[in-house]
């Protein structure tokens, strides 16, 4: 087996070779815990307005200060983590499921169906993502659910292309031909033999898209097409702090940093996964 011979020896464990990926992973695990335990760890109700403490700067009472309605910024950020992770998970889950299904059908069926489905992905690729998402969100009405649907609609084609390319190369492999020769049905070949082997590149794309979805959703919320106030969401928080940027910068600063760190963490994980799966790329990203 050529592959076996070409496999390089692994002198160091993965976490030593790629410390940045580990940092990304740790950040996401921490974030997931924060999101999960939000009601237990948030110091205050994220929606509770205390007008006597409006726009208080960071202090021991309010670590990240209070906003224009006297709400505790830290608590709102903690609850915001829930929404961001939810958005990332739902959008990527939806987009990857639809995209994988389309890619499998196109790649395995071939012919006019393949041609038609790929032209459909071309069409979706032609739209700048946020503009189409805005149009969809506008048509359906602005809300968190519709924003997630909108972002998923613009995100699925990349999975379809990815899976199709994998299927095209996998379906000619000997083990697939062997399965075919043994009389396995097309459905069985696709589900049992092809799909599991497309998962690795899918996972890489998914981790990049988690970050992308969080960014897009925050952008949509910022311009009023995503999560609606008073919900504690990072994009909404930045938008609400917008008019205070010169005088009370913490209102926008902290939620923005939270988005930056979260997206960077997913990107680091994506880089690490890609390198691990394709050693030729190691360190080139």
């Amino acid at each position: 087996m050529v592959e076996t011979l070409a496999t390089p020896a692994r002198p160091r464990p993965a976490w030593r070779r790629s410390p940045l990926t580990v940092i990304g992973l740790v950040l996401i695990i921490i974030l997931a815990f924060i999101a999960l335990l939000a009601p237990l760890i948030a110091p205050a109700d994220p929606l509770k307005q205390v007008l006597s403490t409006r726009l208080d700067p960071p202090s021991t009472a309010h670590w990240l200060g209070t906003d224009q309605l006297g709400r505790d910024v830290l608590s709102r950020m903690i609850y915001g983590a829930r929404i961001s992770l939810l958005i990332g998970g739902v959008v990527v889950g939806l987009a990857a499921s639809v995209g994988t299904f389309v890619g499998l059908v196109a790649g395995y069926a071939g012919g006019w169906l393949d041609e038609g489905l790929m032209r459909l992905t071309d069409v979706f690729f032609a739209f700048p993502a946020l503009i189409l998402a805005m149009a969809i969100s506008g048509a359906l009405g602005p809300s968190l659910t519709n924003a997630m649907i909108a972002i998923a609609v613009v995100s699925w084609p990349v999975y379809a292309r990815l899976v199709r390319a994998q299927v095209l190369s996998l379906r000619e492999r000997e083990y697939v031909e062997a399965a075919r020769g043994l009389g396995a049905s097309a459905e069985r070949i696709v589900w049992q033999h092809i799909l599991p082997n497309t998962l690795a590149p899918l996972l890489v794309q998914a981790s990049f898209d988690m970050g992308g979805a969080i960014l897009s959703a925050a952008g949509l919320s910022f311009i009023g097409f995503g999560t609606q106030p008073p919900t504690a969401e990072w994009g909404v928080m930045i938008s609400e702090g917008r008019n205070y940027i010169a005088t009370h910068s913490w209102l926008s600063l902290f939620p923005g940093l939270a988005i930056l760190l979260t997206v960077a963490a997913f990107n680091l994980i994506g880089d690490g996964l890609r390198d691990a799966l394709d050693p030729r790329l190691r360190g080139t990203g």
């Binding site: 071309d122 032609a126 993502a129 503009i131 149009a135 952008g219 994009g235």
Partner: protein, 337 residues
């Protein structure tokens, strides 16, 4: 002629994509739950007015026929009337497009001018300090919310330091240059009005920086990784072995070939620039298509939103067509292939 057949193939693909785009925007305009005629004319419209509107836009006809009317209107440049500005959407797009084009183009030029040398530097100094700095800056650029970055830039450079303006295309006390291209920088130079020129450059700087950071990051990452691949190839080693100077090897031999995959990235980032323009223009009160789209969408002005969506898709598809043709020039293997 392979080039001619290639061009023909691309042209057919372009038309097919445009048809697909029109189907999607048509479908989206039918998703709106309200009656478009009532939305367009307002609640107080008389029945006969509503009927006339339905007749004009074919809203009382079967769906395929409605689509046909929609497409023929599009081909005549009739994108409907904006419900908010009460002007033809096509006129609005024409008015707002130059501002967006000027901003996106400046951002793109900035990101090419910074991204490519940064990627080359990063690759040639692999695993040393300049490489680490470029990689960290690219990671941040690929992860930062553009609207937040814009806000922070305004808060710092305008709010705190007062060095740069925080919005608009030109100082309010300076008359805009007479319109030739619609790009203030170009038009003011054409008119010989240097005060207007510097004012518009000042106003462009922060939004272009905010908008261009993401694409700079993507371009520098791509350039770095393709440089690393190219630098290990035989012909680069041969060039080194011949005793050529490092600068000549890097820029003359390696960078030119590493540019080929980077050019694709530049085409793809153009889409992100258009998306980013929506957010950047909103933050910087930049009177372009992005801000027009946001304002239109918040007031449920659907013809306007669809107009922007169509135009953005058209520009993006064209940009990628140009990029593909750029390969012909960069890569002789494709030119003669």
């Amino acid at each position: 002629m392979p080039l001619l057949s290639y061009l023909l193939r691309r042209l057919v693909g372009f038309v097919a994509v445009m048809i697909g785009i029109s189907i999607i925007t048509f479908g989206l305009s039918h998703l709106v739950p309200a009656d478009p005629a009532v939305v367009a004319l307002g609640d107080h419209a008389k029945d006969e007015q509503i009927e006339a509107f339905r007749e004009k836009y074919g809203l009382n006809k079967p769906v395929p026929e409605q689509y046909w009317i929609y497409v023929t209107n599009l081909l005549r440049g009739d994108l409907g009337i904006s419900l908010r500005t009460r002007r033809p959407v096509a006129d609005d797009l024409r008015n707002f497009f130059p501002a967006t084009f000027e901003l996106s183009l400046t951002a793109l030029i900035l990101s090419i001018l910074i991204g490519i040398p940064a990627g080359v530097l990063s690759a040639t100094a692999r695993n040393r300090l300049p490489d680490h700095v470029v990689r960290i800056l690219s990671l941040i650029g690929g992860s930062v919310p553009i609207f937040w970055l814009g806000l922070i830039l305004i808060g710092f450079f305008y709010g705190r330091l007062g060095w740069l303006p925080g919005g608009a295309r030109i100082d309010s006390f300076i008359p805009p240059p007479p319109e030739v291209t619609g790009l203030f920088t170009v038009d003011s130079l054409l008119a010989g009005d240097y005060t207007a020129f510097w004012s518009s450059v000042h106003h462009l700087f922060l939004p272009a920086l905010a908008l261009g950071y993401f694409s700079t990051a993507i371009i520098s990452r791509m350039m770095r990784s393709s440089m690393l691949e190219v630098l290990n190839q035989q012909y680069v080693l041969a060039a080194r072995a011949k005793g050529l100077r490092q600068r000549h090897v890097v820029w003359g031999h390696a960078a030119r070939n590493a540019l080929i995959p980077t050019v694709t990235t530049i085409g793809v980032t153009f889409g992100s620039l258009l998306s980013g323009a929506v957010l950047t223009e909103t933050i910087f009160s930049w009177p372009g298509l992005g801000r027009y789209a946001t304002h239109s969408a918040t007031s449920l002005d659907f013809p306007a939103v669809m107009g922007v969506t169509l135009l953005a898709a058209l520009v993006y598809t064209l940009a990628n067509l140009i990029v593909d043709l750029g390969y012909q020039w960069l890569d002789p293997r494709i030119r003669h292939g």
